[in-house]
Assembly symmetry: C2
């Protein structure tokens, strides 16, 4: 299969759903990717199982606070230039690129990079959604080292990292992202084809296109969207999909703290007899509560959509007065393993609760 | 000439004087350099004029908040490992190393690095004193690019930089220093022998040893120290040396802001009829005022010493109640050029005054 121009709209739409509020707005990455596909032609998408064991693959994407992605626009060739700088740093050619996270703009950046370099992109990603920190990536959880890694900023400044742990890598790139204006592009987690197969969340790139298609073709109220979404998700690595709330945004505040968007949104039900839903944000929607009752929590997906159109809404675009619905979706089994929950359970984000899978709530 | 064990005590002492309060405490760098010289033998010191025009020289030193140097101790081989990482990054052997700044611990780190690598150290430095930012280095002012540069942290994590401007380099390494615990070692400003000759403040390494010797041999009250210091400085690139104040520290506060130690010290005269001297600090002592009257300012040197012994005192060691004297010393002509004053005049540190050379005050 090849990713053509016609797929990018659906991919961008699906990726915002899977971004669970974060991931960076895909609007500009989509324009850039369209330009790259027009210029260099469609990009081959290959299944992880079809990658040779000794292939050399690197993950690429943007790192920073999603709010900044609305202001600090990447250039057309930033992604391909990041790959070139990476290849120069390691003295080796890359065979294919993979995505950090299928959620948001980071679903598109690998395609722009692959187009510019004439290499394929892998069908899959390192999160199955969006999550705020490098050590939460499936690559990292499966033991792939984050470095050698290379970061490029908007002005073309290059920084190369070689760190001993993923936590240190995360701290160093985050500080660079802040110093460089809030957003950088990085090529990181270089891995063999064999390592890729063991660590990637497979199929999420083509799934995101299908999800976007579903949202587009069934465009309409969230209540009508539930069934097509349930049909799609039940036949995927995600499983369960629920409509957990509908109402009006009555409060929403985030601040940039340590390079993240941190805050909370409050949604009051259309019918006043229900308790309001509070959604905690750290780049992504992480925890949905009604009073003391947890309705859904990370690593399961919490997705806020426009009530009328079911278009998913990124956290930086949430506004007072919006009429919204909230979906909760199960996460891939990979993220329910003990190993993964060590880095993505609610406690890893400072919430004093245990993770209970959506199906058991 | 070779730098032997016996020189290191005087070098460390002289370097604290030239550090004007900053530069990082030389105690631990001295222990490390002693160890390196014991293990690898004396280090050859060569005059800039004796370096061949096509030699490949790099500057090396610590970057961070001086207070941290009292707690986050560098390892014995950190400096040599930084050079090795630099050579690996650029794929080229280094012929000699130079100092960022002769002030404080950064006078010793190049010697430790040179010993470990068996290469000579240049007699000179990039500041003639200590100053808080990379763009204030004579190398930068003379047009030498800061990158390719490599930073090593206490845990051996390596970061390589390639930036378009010195200002961006400064911002990026500063943010890394903060993320890495407050202090890193960097090899930067690689240059040819020809560029070195045009940009270095010459002779400051051997001068610092002589200065330390003078302070040691004449150990005693600051009033008695004035004459030997004046004799020494008048025959150097510094020129004027004045005893501008004597008294007791009655207030001193610094905070770490953006990776710097920022604050002020207040010294009240022993005789109460004099206005107290206020010394503004950003890592270094930058401005000395009595009421509205400027007594000395950066780029001239302001040095606080113990009143009884004339031992220079770093800002992080200044304490309430200490009896101190304050010397002011002229700076090398290089720093009085229009080009240099663009980056080191008092206004560059936020003080709303013009620079007036010490001799004209």
């Amino acid at each position: 299969m090849k990713i053509e121009l016609k797929h990018l709209e659906d991919l961008a739409l699906g990726s915002v759903f899977l971004a669970t509020g974060g991931g960076g707005d895909p609007y500009v990455p989509r324009l850039i990717t369209e330009q790259a596909v027009k210029q260099f032609g469609p990009v081959e998408i290959i299944q992880p199982d079809d990658v040779s064991d000794d292939a050399y693959v690197v993950a690429i994407g943007a790192v920073g606070a999603p709010t900044v992605s609305l202001e600090l626009l990447p250039s057309i060739d930033e992604a391909a230039n990041t790959l070139r700088a990476f290849e120069q740093q390691v003295g080796r050619q890359i065979d294919a690129v993979a995505s950090f996270e299928i959620g948001g703009g980071n679903s598109l950046i690998p395609i722009a990079a692959a187009a510019g370099r004439g290499i394929p992109v892998i069908d899959g990603d390192g999160m199955g959604r969006a999550l705020p920190e490098a050590q939460m990536m499936s690559y990292a959880i499966a033991g792939v080292k984050p470095t050698p890694a290379v970061a490029l900023d908007y002005d073309g400044n290059i920084t190369a990292f070689s760190t001993k742990t993923t936590e240190v890598y995360e701290r160093h790139i985050r500080s660079l992202a802040i110093a460089a204006g809030g957003m950088i592009t990085t090529a990181e987690h270089p891995m063999s084809g064999l390592e890729l197969k063991r660590s990637i969340i497979p199929g999420t790139l083509s799934f995101s296109i299908k999800l976007g298609q579903t949202l587009r073709e069934n465009r309409g109220s969230a209540r009508d969207m539930l069934e097509p979404l349930q049909t799609l998700f039940s036949d995927s690595i995600y499983g369960e999909c629920r409509l957990i709330f509908a109402g009006k945004i009555t409060d929403k505040a985030t601040r940039i703290v340590g390079g993240y968007d941190i805050g909370e949104a409050v949604i009051e039900a259309f019918s006043s007899d229900e308790k309001p839903l509070k959604v905690s944000i750290k780049n992504e929607y992480l925890l949905a509560r009604q009073g003391d009752k947890v309705v859904a929590s990370v690593p399961d997906l919490i997705v806020i959509v426009d009530y009328e159109t079911s278009a998913p809404i990124n956290a930086e675009r949430l506004r007072y007065g919006q009429r919204v619905a909230v979906f909760a979706v199960g996460c891939p089994d990979f993220y329910r393993s003990e190993n993964a929950l060590k880095v993505v359970a609610p406690r890893c984000f400072g919430f004093d609760i245990d993770y209970v899978p959506l199906e058991q709530i």
